[in-house]
Amino acid sequence: MSGEGTLATVKRGLALSPELRTGLGGTIVLAVLQMAGRVAVPIAVQQGIDHGIRAPGGPDLGVVVRIVAITLGALMISTLCGYLMTRRLFTVSETALSGLRQRTFRHIHDLSMLHQQSERRGSMVSRVTSDVDQISQFLQTGGVQLLLATGQLLVSAVVMFVYSWQLALVVLLAFGPAVGVIRLFQKRLAEVYRAVRERTGVMLGAVAESVVGATVIRSYGVAGRTQARLDSSIEDLRVAQQRAMRTSVTSFSSGEIGAGLALAGVVVVGVWLGADGALTVGQLTAFLFLVTLFIQPVQIATDMLNEAQNAVAGWRRILDVLDVEPDVADPDDQGVELPVGPLSVRFADVSFRYPGGPIVLSGVDLTLDARRKYAVVGETGSGKTTFAKLLTRLMDPAQGEVLLSGTPLTSVRFASLRSRVVMVPQDGFLFDATVAENIRFAEPSLTGEQLRAAFVELGLVDWLDGLPQGLETEVGERGEALSVGERQLVALVRAYVADPDLLVLDEATSAVDPATEVRLQHALDLVTRGRTTVAIAHRLSTAQSADEVIVVDAGRVVQRGPHARLVAEEGSIYAKLYASWLEQTRS
């Protein structure tokens, strides 16, 4: 994909943002009209010199005034066209690009969890920010200039041919080598600009890490090492930028040499032609003006082509993301709704491995009945979280199938799945907003009273009332203005108000103190009665109160059954886990 040509990228980009073409015809017409105004000036100079200033009977002021007046009119129309064109261009391009930003944003959210995690956050953010900015900057400055330059190039070329085809040929010949050089440079430019964008991403990643990990860096006194890394990523970017600059200047200056050749050639050939009487002084003068009108756009175009490489590099990064089909996809219209009522779960011979890793779950085959409460236990790294992610279809199994109430998960519409099945992940992520807003994330329609009622039902209202501003307390970025356990409480209430039929808790209260946890557990048991609950727990207190315990070891389900029975199986993994639990809680 990354090897594709510039034009191919632009084509693909335009196909994905058809809005960019809205009213393109009109914009081009306006641009050409604006151009025509510029070309009017050298024509006026020629006419003025030949028919006014060098009029047979001495300078004829009347003629000059008439010519100037006409040109003035043309110039005003051209200015007006310029205004209208720029307005249109900005409106169309910004509207189209804001659509692109939103589409990319949505697409990133639609990608599978694993895919999201394989990308750095900073790099995903840049897809909807600076990469789009590059395109917009190019379209609005470079794009207009390129459009105008092309127009100017064509119009002045035509006028040159009208004045003197011989001289026009001289000009084209003079620029021939330059065009060759510029074309040759395009590929290198694409490479150096890609390097610039890549290294920008690396630098942003390094900055983000130094910000997010600031406390660790401080407490280990390793600011020196971190700064050294930052510095080298910053320097790498600078070196890449300078290399890109050198390449683009070299390419640009070849146009300048073409310009010198053209001027020299026009004078030499023009004088020969004029001496033969094939050309007037005014015509040759106009021609010299025309040559500059021809040179300017060539220079601008070279410059803009360089910038275009930068924009295309950004565009390509966006398209590469949009091209990825979400591998855990919403069946949407082809999908079905989950059957009403409490949900049962079936894992049919499910195996899973993370990309490039070993098998993490193998041959898991089990059924969980509706309305019951299950606890999943096992050592850390045994595959419990993986099990939960498969159950909630954050990932699809490599082999086997997961069914809810007999319906294969892969055929369930996301709208139905996500409203009926909710998981509280291991780290309760909160948004930088108030407690109330964080809970409304699950159910925007809830009133303040309803929110409060949810806290009451879960036995957390005392905690809520202890907060400085109650429901309106700001929780800080990622919830960092709350203690870790408090964050988990909010995340739990958030899942609770979503009112799911299958609730999956992945060590959702691991940082909460025992007394609170026990109280919460009781409250939760009451309010989730009649629904299916799967709780992954490191603390076996949860397991004890579950209807059934499922024991995972090294990716396999090794035991299942009620707590009392499993404990009685002497020498079993669960018996050992429980013994160790007793040891931790009773000593």
Partner: protein
């Protein structure tokens, strides 16, 4: 705005004077060559073209000379372009790099309290797009300076040619400046708004992707897109507002020089009739105005960028000038072996918020293990971060081995005390890099020992590249417990004399935990330990327990003592047992 913008530019020039001079000389040369070129064109028309057209004779020698002059000028121009562009570009890139280093340097030295007040997304854009914006006008700056030189030279040459034609220039150039000024004044608020909206969009995107898992599990993708869309729409509108203004000014600025050319034609004809000047003069001056049009735009570019530059610079300066650095002394902690930690009447609150800790006093005697127990939100993590001086108390004092923390050098403190935080943080690095952190004295052997001690050696051995496995951003490819053990190993590898464990062994088997704490009492790696824990097994390993309620130390003693004498403590630590009895 203009004044402040120019001051920012002045600062840039003082920082990179040499590159600026290269750029300015290059572009002044460029400008002078443009003027020279116009006069050569005029001279060629007057002295070569007109005579030979009239006489139908070609002076070949002269003609070749003309060609050589044009080519010579062109060669010089190439040199001037290299000087101008590379000078300006390198200056811009160096300034960007310099300020990125400075800004990130501040990030590293500003205290956690400052970091908490600033969103990651904002800090990212300070180091990236704000620095970029601040030095945005640098690229066209030398060009603009060269253009000013050129305009002055043009004015002089105009006056030397003919004072009437010079008047055209004298009207035109100030008009261009004036237009630019109005432009920048009207543009400024729009640019600032656009830059703010850029920051917002970036912050929302960053947060939303950060919480992607929650968005997914709750099926809120559509709502998130809508939330993002609101900001994107505002950004779009603010950029369109910028575009409207540009649409108004750009074509005007484009056509002013053309007006000049027409005026020259008109006045030139009149002056020619009175015999004051020749055809060559009219051509030269008209040509001059034609070629001036483009470089004069460079001034507009600089002026147009100034508002954005000032906005960016202000945001960068806010980071550079931020205060509140923790001042470190130069004290050291002589001696080896476990260190004593002492809290004395410590009070603390986060910013303007309510008081979190009330007169907290306790001691971790040398070589002892003290457990810190309390309900969720009672202030345990706050005490842990005070103990390693991530924050300073409002009043009261904290000391290690009798030395007050603020008197210690950072290296002395970091070498002596290690905190394993409640939420493990893993760098986007290899396992080895994450544990060693390039600390002196932490070699491969120390890394392996620490991994073994944290019971992480087995799973690390199972990773595809062992110690060299990259663990991904924030350690995404590891399970939660594995991340915790990695950070535990990181702390142990430095052989600290005081270890602060903030609920850092919750995912570790109790036997493992006992082994770890036991090893810390053994002779070679002895350390004092402050451990935040809920588990009775862990608490029982401690020599002493400090029990907290709502930020107050309400009881201190051995576990057995507290069990007998403190009902609240008993309720907390026996909660599981009691729950079981009720079943």
């Amino acid at each position: 705005m203009l004044g402040r913008g120019l001051r920012v530019l002045g600062h840039a020039i003082r920082t990179e004077p040499r590159l600026f001079i290269v750029g300015a000389i290059g572009s002044s040369l460029f400008g002078l060559l443009i003027i020279a070129n116009s006069y050569v064109v005029g001279w060629v028309i007057g002295h070569v073209v007109v005579p030979s057209f009239a006489s139908h004779q070609v002076d070949t020698g002269r003609l070749w000379l003309v060609a050589a002059i044009f080519l010579g000028i062109s060669g010089l121009r190439v040199a001037s372009i290299f000087g101008r562009r590379l000078g300006a570009g390198f200056m811009q890139f160096r300034l960007q790099a310099r300020y990125r280093r400075a800004v990130t340097g501040r990030y590293l030295s500003l205290p956690p309290a400052w970091h908490q007040r600033h969103a990651t997304g904002t800090l990212l854009s300070n180091a990236n797009s704000d620095v970029e914006a601040a030095w945005g006008p640098i690229a066209p700056l030398p060009f603009a300076v060269g253009t000013i030189v050129m305009l002055i030279a043009a004015m002089i040459s105009l006056f030397l040619t003919d004072w009437v034609l010079a008047l055209v220039g004298a009207t035109l150039f100030p008009a261009l400046f004036g237009l630019n000024l109005v432009y920048s004044r009207r543009m400024s608020p729009r640019q600032i708004r656009a830059q703010q909206m850029r920051g917002k969009v970036s912050a929302v995107a960053h947060e939303s992707f950060d919480g992607a898992l929650v968005v997914k599990t709750m099926g809120r993708e559509a709502d998130e897109s809508r939330r993002f869309g609101v900001f994107v729409d505002e950004l779009r509108d603010s950029l369109i507002a910028v575009g409207r203004l540009r649409g108004l000014f750009d074509p005007l600025m484009d056509s002013l020089p053309s007006l000049g050319t027409l005026a020259v034609l008109l006045l030139g004809a009149w002056r020619l009739r009175s015999g004051a000047i020749g055809v060559a003069d009219v051509v030269s001056v008209a040509f001059l105005f034609t070629v001036l049009a483009f470089p004069v735009r460079a001034i507009g570019w600089v002026v147009g960028e100034l508002p954005r530059s000032v906005a960016g610079w202000d945001r960068v300066r806010a980071v550079l000038d931020a205060e509140g650095d923790l001042a470190y002394g130069d004290g050291s902690l002589p001696g080896a072996g476990p260190a004593e930690l002492r809290f004395d009447q410590v009070r603390f609150s986060y910013g303007e918020g309510p008081q979190i800790l009330h007169d907290v006093s306790f001691t971790v005697p040398s070589g002892r293990t003290v457990a810190l127990v309390g309900a969720t939100g009672s202030g345990k993590s706050t005490i842990a971060s005070l103990a390693v001086r991530l924050v300073d108390p409002e009043s009261g004092s904290i000391g290690i081995d009798g030395v007050k923390l603020p008197d210690l050098a950072l290296s002395a403190l970091a070498g002596a005390a290690a905190l394993v935080p409640q939420v493990p943080f893993v760098f986007d690095d290899t396992v080895r890099g994450n544990i060693a952190l390039d600390r002196p004295g932490v070699d491969d052997e120390a890394v392996r020992d620490a991994l073994a001690l944290a019971q992480a050696d087995r799973f690390v051995a199972g990773l595809p590249d062992g110690l060299d496995t990259a663990v991904g951003e924030r350690g995404t490819s590891l399970s939660g417990g594995q991340r915790q053990r990695l950070t535990l190993a990181r702390a142990l590898a430095g052989k600290p004399r005081l270890l602060v464990l903030d609920d850092a062994t919750s995912a570790v088997d109790p036997r493992v935990e006992a082994a770890i704490l036991g090893a810390l009492r053994a002779s070679d790696a002895r350390a004092s330990v402050l451990v935040v824990a809920y588990r009775r097994a862990t608490i029982a390993l401690a020599d002493q327990v400090v029990y907290l309620e709502r930020g107050r130390v309400v009881a201190t003693g051995t576990h057995a003592e507290l069990m007998t004498f403190h009902a609240g403590y008993q309720d907390l630590v026996t909660a599981y047992e009691k729950a079981e009895h009720q079943e």
